[in-house]
Symmetry: C2
DNA sequence: ATTTCGAGTGTAAAAGTAACACTATTTCTT
DNA sequence: AAGAAATAGTGTTACTTTTACACTCGAAAT
């Protein structure tokens, strides 16, 4: 019985985080310029090793916290990357996660101390190991997920204008949307609530601020956006 | 540098296979009644441990081959299951995969020797460890996948009738479909080819046999079914 | 010749999606 | 004070897609 396990090899298990942020009408990833080997000087995802006392999902949350100081972030598995030589140093199996964070919220000092930077998703540099594949898959999974459920509100501040929301959807879609049709669709979902607040920073006229009402969403027919 | 890895713990890494088959108008899973501990006597998925010289994906293919004798089977990752106590014997992280196999094709002797049985997906027994969660997630992932691409042809024999195809879609959907609308949609996709062959086993009149043309599918606009 | 059984076929209403351009409100400039 | 500038906001129509629905066809069995 003991042999049932001990005949088999054991592996380091890493987690790597594809961290999406939204600013300036564009999607960005938080990437590290590595200050240590393996891969010193290269761009990479934020990663870490799973420890004895934590689940794989918890390890991903911890790693995200170590970089950004954030908890309660929307995170989802992207997949397992388990090729034999993917990490040239040792055999490491890695689970990739994507996270959607509000770009106003994170701890800038922590991020700086890790040598991490926001990079526009359309101008990504070459990345360490198989991290580019991870990013590609994350983009796909994120897109599918965002179409099925309105998860992408995690990328916005609590209050946002419809122009911001539309440009987020355009960034995820990779294509422009018609303003009137978009607003018609927003009006149909009452989990996107208009508030009395007005944002005057982006236009002279000012734009109404909206918020995502999670409770209403949970009670709704789950109309995707 | 060496410490970069060696400070961290290592884990057994398993793969578990959710194996779908289609017969009698229903989806079935191939499950094992375990003949060994841990979990002797319980129903479980077919699983195995990742070895030094194989990727995680390859381990899943090997495990499926060991049970069914099949290669070149459609398989996709379902996700990583990495809770600390999920396997009470040892800390094991597992990657779940789903496979779609043609129920006429597998090696019956091998399957029997593993004490494996086809179980209707709507009448599943309690399963070992977190295998029920794996199955739940696999059902969701499989459904999404089948909607995006016509992967489910892997569940059918090379030649099939439209009635069979429709009942497969109904089983995946969990809901009945309108026969005329379904056939109209089939007619629109030329990667579903009508042949001159007639199947006389299911009706007196006989039904035309169709086949999936992968090449045409790859050249098509990827209309999902 | 008649029955039986699954295979196969078309049309019309309804819903959803896509295309399209101007007015409104406030601030800034002169 | 008037006009320019800049983003917010607003409806209608054509087109496409989806849904609902019931009978005939062809071969075998009796």
């Amino acid at each position: 019985m003991q042999e049932y396990y001990s005949l088999h090899p054991r592996f380091y298990h890493a987690v790597d985080c594809i961290i999406f942020g939204f600013s300036g009408g564009e999607l960005n990833l938080l990437l590290l310029k590595r200050k240590f080997d393996p891969g010193m000087g290269e761009w990479s995802l934020m990663g870490g090793f799973v420890q004895e006392d934590e689940s794989v999902d918890d390890a991903a949350k911890r790693v995200l916290f170590e970089l950004t100081g954030l908890t309660n972030v929307f995170m989802e598995q992207v997949g397992v990357f388990g090729k034999v030589g993917r990490d040239p140093g040792e055999r490491v199996i890695s689970t990739a996660y994507y996270a959607l964070i509000n770009i106003n919220d994170y701890d800038r000092q922590l991020v700086e101390s890790h040598n991490a930077h926001w990079i526009n998703i359309n101008e990504l540099p070459a990345l360490l190991f198989d991290h580019e594949q991870m990013v590609e898959r994350a983009k796909t999974v994120m897109k599918v997920q965002a179409e099925l459920q309105p998860t992408c509100f995690s990328l916005l501040p609590e209050y946002f204008t419809l122009t911001q929301l539309q440009s987020l959807y355009e960034a995820i879609n990779g294509a422009a949307l018609d303003k009137r049709n978009f607003r018609k669709r927003v009006a149909e979902r009452d989990f996107i609530e208009k508030t009395r607040l007005i944002d005057k920073t982006t236009s002279r006229r000012g734009a109404s601020l909206y918020r995502f009402n999670e409770e209403k969403y949970n009670n709704s027919q789950r109309l995707k956006i």
